[in-house]
């Protein structure tokens, strides 16, 4: 659907909030807590599709609110929103999707976020009816921006400006049996949290992760496509999926974050570097499939059946 940028607010030099609404003010599809939308953004040479959490509450149907950090290695998406987008612009926005909904059977929720990873939790805290605790970690200079997005005076919401201050071990060891853990933030932040959780005996079913937007950059590699007969180069800062799309192909994709499994393609030769959260360990070991949205290659070349 085409949505118009109604308003832009500058929360910090690198963080902006956008209000999106339909031209005719028609009600938008409901976006539940943790949902995101894919927004198509024009770039220099091609357009990009980025996932942004809908931070307005699930009851809000007259507009979607998204909060966007300008990525330092922006491929064009967040740079466009920060440098060129103005109120009145129209953007192609997909239907809300949700791979990060809060558990309905959890008695309590422990939310851990780093940096812009706070965004899915902004809708959580408006929705949760069961007790929750939110710990947010950010750079000191970003504190006012994030503090402004959070309700003030809540004792169950804590902002940390120093990673040392937030001891995952202590926090995770103190949780009751009915607690679920949710984590969204930079890859190393999440790996630290989940590593501590697993060490303390947290079961997988109570660990929830959101990881879209963490573009996995890596070494340059080449992909040979058997069915289409094309050869595509994947540059360091772009994903395999982006490279396939830039070559004019229409490979399957949905979440673009390694979660949903939609973009799986068969691997005929070469060894993929798996970065997704979809394939099981035994499937990974076979090296016969790749999630094009986040995974790359250990070998300089891959042959895909596509």
């Amino acid at each position: 659907m085409k949505l118009r940028i109604e308003a832009i607010s500058v929360l910090s030099p690198t963080i902006r909030r956008f209000i999106l609404a339909a031209d005719d003010g028609a009600p938008l599809p409901v976006a539940g807590a943790g949902a995101h939308v894919m927004v198509s953004l024009p770039g220099e040479t091609r357009s990009w599709r980025n996932a942004y959490s809908v931070v307005s509450g699930p009851g809000m149907r007259d507009h979607y609110e998204i909060v966007v950090r300008r990525s330092q290695q922006s491929r064009g998406g967040s740079a466009f929103l920060h440098e060129r987008a103005v109120a009145g612009d129209r953007l192609e926005v997909g239907l809300p999707q949700n791979f990060f909904a809060p558990s309905r059977i959890a008695g309590r929720h422990l939310l851990l976020s780093g940096g812009i990873g706070i965004t899915p939790f902004l809708s959580y805290i408006r929705t949760l009816h069961t007790p929750f605790e939110l710990h947010h970690c950010c750079k000191r200079e970003d504190t006012p921006a994030f503090a402004g997005l959070l309700p003030s005076g809540a004792t169950n919401i804590v902002l940390h400006t120093n990673r040392e201050e937030l001891n995952f071990r202590t926090l995770l060891a103190a949780q009751k049996l009915d607690t679920h853990l949710y984590c969204c933030g930079p890859e190393d932040f999440m790996n630290d949290a989940f590593g501590a959780a697993r060490h303390l005996g947290w079961p997988e079913a109570k660990i929830h992760r959101e990881s879209f937007g963490g573009v996995v950059s890596g070494a340059f590699f080449t992909v040979h496509l058997k069915k289409s007969g094309l050869t595509v180069q994947v540059r360091q800062e772009e994903t395999l999926l982006d490279a396939l799309e830039a070559a004019g192909l229409e490979p399957p994709s949905l979440c673009r974050g390694g979660a949903c499994g939609e973009c799986e393609l068969p691997v005929l030769a070469g060894i993929p570097a798996h970065h997704d959260h979809y394939l099981s360990d035994s499937r990974r070991a076979k090296n016969d499939a790749i999630m094009t949205c986040v995974s790359r290659a250990h070998t300089s070349e891959l042959v895909l059946d596509f």
Binding site: G201, W202, A205
Partner: protein, 184 residues
């Protein structure tokens, strides 16, 4: 074998856990349980008639009745921290009672391990008046609630921790086959 009939595994330690609580409806853990050399907390049931021994160590606690153990468990779990694994060893009714208490306390299926040990006796749920009969060893039982003769089916309800009993003479009233003692 019907689908509702649960399958049980022998006791093995779930090494992903940080702490372990083993509960049994028997005075001692069955011999098949090969205790690993990690810190385990163990709850047993030693009825008054059984020989009462002092706790082997601080991690062992003996209750005088199954109901006492089951009544204590929710209070215990309410104060526990995540990372716990619970292991129930005993009759089917007991292990599923423990399972349901653990689920209510917030444990998930991956954190609960059930092992069937000891008697095959069944808890039977009357499909007509909802009365439970405990410790049923015959395949036909007189319902203490409505007086019907119930055929004990293999259909098992995990929610009720009971097997279903249905009127055995529903088609031809009064025609009740001889009961067999199948669930010792």
């Amino acid at each position: 074998m019907i689908k509702s009939r649960p399958l049980y595994r022998p006791f093995t330690l779930d090494v992903s856990g940080r702490a372990h609580l083993v509960v049994t409806d028997q005075p001692e853990l069955p011999e098949m349980v090969d205790l690993p050399s990690v810190d385990l907390e163990i709850f047993t049931v030693q009825t008054v008639s059984s020989e009462i021994e002092a706790p082997v160590d601080g991690n062992r606690r003996a209750f005088h009745a199954v109901v006492d153990l089951l009544a204590h468990l929710p209070r215990r779990l309410a104060n526990d921290k995540i990372g716990l694994r619970i292991y129930a060893i005993g009759t089917e009714a007991f292990v599923w009672d423990v399972h349901n208490i653990a689920r209510a306390a917030g444990l998930g299926s991956a954190e609960i391990h059930l092992t069937h040990a000891g008697s095959l006796r069944r808890r039977v749920y009357c499909a007509h008046c909802k009365t439970m009969s405990e410790d049923v060893t015959d395949n036909i039982v007189l319902c203490p609630g409505c007086g019907a003769s119930l055929l004990v089916r293999d259909h098992f309800s995990r929610r009720l921790a009971a097997f279903m009993g249905v009127k055995v003479d529903a088609e031809i009233p009064g025609e009740i086959p001889a009961a067999e003692s199948l669930y010792q």
